[in-house]
Amino acid sequence: MEPVRRPAGRPSGWGRWRLLSLVGAVFVSLAGLRVITGQDMLTDAGTINTTLTFAVPIGLAGLGGLWAERAGIINIGLEGMMILGTWFGAYFAWAFDNPWIGLLAGILGGMAGGLLHAVATVTFAVDHIVSGVAINILALGAMRYMSILLYSDVPGAGAAQSPTTPGFPTLGLPFVGEAFGPLADRGWFLVSDLASLVVGLTTRMSALTLVALLMIPLTYLVLWRTAFGLRLRSVGENPDASESLGVRVYSLKYVAVVVSGGLAGMGGVFLALVASNIYQEGQTGGRGFIGLAAMIFGNWRPGGVAMGAGLFGYTDALQLRGGGEAIHALLLLLAAVLLLVAVWQVRKDRKGIAVASVVAGVLLLVWYFTTDSLPRELATYSPHITTLLVLSLASQRLRPPAAIGKQWRASRS
């Protein structure tokens, strides 16, 4: 018998350390960038707060995508399920004057969308993309119809928007703002940035933000640390194997897609009740799709989804608060990253990519030093450009679930 070989791959836990060190590196470089460019917007507490507000719906959509895709179902209907979440969240929060009832209703609304998707894709073997797109269109129209039906006599509301809704209570640790605030204003490299981070993360946080943040470790624990999660993931990897071992493939796919819809619905509630205090048509603004992008960027892992959502939230926050100048500062960082990539690729003896990176990096540097600000139009679109850039760079080493998007039929008829 051949001896047991040591695992050839990395030791376990390596992934987590990589994630943490990457986040740390990004933060340190942002702090450095702030000192170099003098753009305080880059790391101040307000930006961090806004980042959270923008990142949470994307992250929730991403987690929703993760649940569905880990069970092998592509959920491009996340956008529609978010729309259901925004509408139901706002309506019930307003009708009962209680945001928590709104949250429940929004989640249930999203779950209903998920259930529809599950019926179509799992039971009737409709193509996942077709079903998802149909749900997106359906949700948009159905919610407009419901608005016309229910808001016609309500003052300040109509076909495209709800009345003002109650908000969630905000939480915050006492004294932290007072203790760290002055430190954050000093402008010291890294120290002040860390202080801003602490302030941003511990004060004026909506209760729903906290709930949403908890979904990340919760997803990890359920999917990677329980038998149920193992079964669910196995269904997305090799449903034939799962079936042969007595795993109920159909039920698990249903559960996964319904949970997926629920998470997207929660993201919708967040948009309606926390990010603003009103339901508006088109409020989701493609965040379901960006959530999917965050999930792909995150390699179908919860920590990665959180990072992806944070990245998109950050660029969004920055363009909203700082506008062209703040985004402009990021060009410098991007140029530096590209030059680093070039060095890395030269070491790996891949000259083509290296040369391309150098050229792009130098062009960015030229752009940075010849201008002071990004054109307004470009700044507004920076989150989407980031999506494109990140996906094209990150898609090299991704490992999607193996049975994703496949129509699967039980072998016993």
């Binding site: 695992p7 050839a8 193992l230 196995s234 071992l245 007595g246 795993v247 016993r412």
Partner: protein, 538 residues
Amino acid sequence: MSSTPSGVETSGPPAVELHGITKRFPGVVANHDIDITVAPGTVHAIVGENGAGKSTLMKTLYGMHRPDEGRILIRGQEVRFHSPSDAIRHGIGMVHQHFMLADNLTVLENVVLGAEREYGIGRRARARIQELSDQYGLGVDPDRLMEDLGVGDRQRVEILKVLYRGAKTIILDEPTAVLVPQEVDELFDNLRELKREGLTVIFISHKLDEVLSVADEITVIRRGTTVATADPGSTTARELATLMVGGELPVPELRESTVTDHVVLSLDGVTVAAPDGRPVVDGVSVDIHKGEIVGIAGVEGNGQSELIAAIMGMRPVASGSIALEGRDITGWSTLKVREAGVGYIPEDRHRHGVLLESPLWENRILGHQTKAPSVRGRWINRAGARADSERIVEEYDVRTPNIDVIADALSGGNQQKFIIGREMSGAPRFLVAAHPTRGVDVGAQSAIWEQLREARAAGLAVLLVSADLDELIGMSDTLHVILRGRLVAQADPTTVTPEQLGSAMTGAGLHGEDGPTEGDSGADGADGADRRENGGGA
């Protein structure tokens, strides 16, 4: 045969008894009147041709479908299985021919999946896996990612999966089909270990030498029913084969020579380079005449595939030239080569030969999409293609309900017969036949050989590449040995033995190996090639 039944008579009721099992599918009777008794603590082999109904029977025993008639007894107690879980509960486990493993999960996760109640999914499960792995000498590391494991390791994980669920009887469905010879030996060691620990193994196979070396008892299945039970100690492979086929085994042989002096295909110094510039086919020069079959013998990976790809225009020729009937076809596209009258039986029929998801008549058009009767002008001639598919099915004895079924629904042998029929249509002048009988059953094998003989008599020139040395020797007029991309020797197929050929293939030289040591190494080479040939079984 070292293995003897250990206490067959003494250790209580049989592990498994099948009585009068009949299973019908729409249009076919897959099994009828099956009677098998498996003694506990033995390796019981079930042999039969492809399509004889072995796998259907085992799926019945494993609860994947219910028999229409008959009884199943486990340790003397009658049972009725509604699902594999029922079978698992009664201590029956199955290792499928196609592994049921998820690549992106670890060994541990794959093993505990579906059986999380036993020992959880964490530390206790890991300890249990380690314990089982040590007890049965499986050498499985629970924390490795599945996709990093080789085929032999995967199979051991599958066995471990079954053991983890507390199986006392393990069904192995064609376990050696995917293994190389050393892995087969390891597997057999594992099986003997399992037997020593008191488990019962049911071993499905159609490879007789393996069955004889590992089984304690052999049941032969032919056309869906049990025809005989044999004791490996007093049976020969030849007798078993006769039982399996229900008649004499076909022998590859050519009758009188039909070779003419008209050269059809001429290779002149053909060299094919690997991506790194190293030649994988190195200066091959050979003439193939009208009515001649030229065989190429070689251990797989010595340039045969690349040589064929070069002739078919699927790989660029680095230097040298290929001429068909005097015309230089070097560098022609595959379609143009085929249009010039070259047929091609590919070595991997699922990759190059058929579209599994398409009906037969569409597969008929494949590769002939520019020639009548598949097309009329620029358009597909549906009626013509269908009519010609009917002709192929008729003439080449392709067993299929009709020409509208998808190719995937046919057995490997019937797919191969259909491909050969297609490639012979349009009267090719030259045929490339790569492993024409790989993974097909005995009946189809003799039919394919007969078709090659007929085509040769009609003046076809054939390049035959095969790993089955008996086939090469029997079917070739001229035999070349390829080693590291070069034709190193030419053998006379009327006098050469498989042992001599095997030794030449490994580089030991064709002549002068009368000494016992060299003869032995030759036998090894031939043996390995034979196993690989059999390994293509589907």
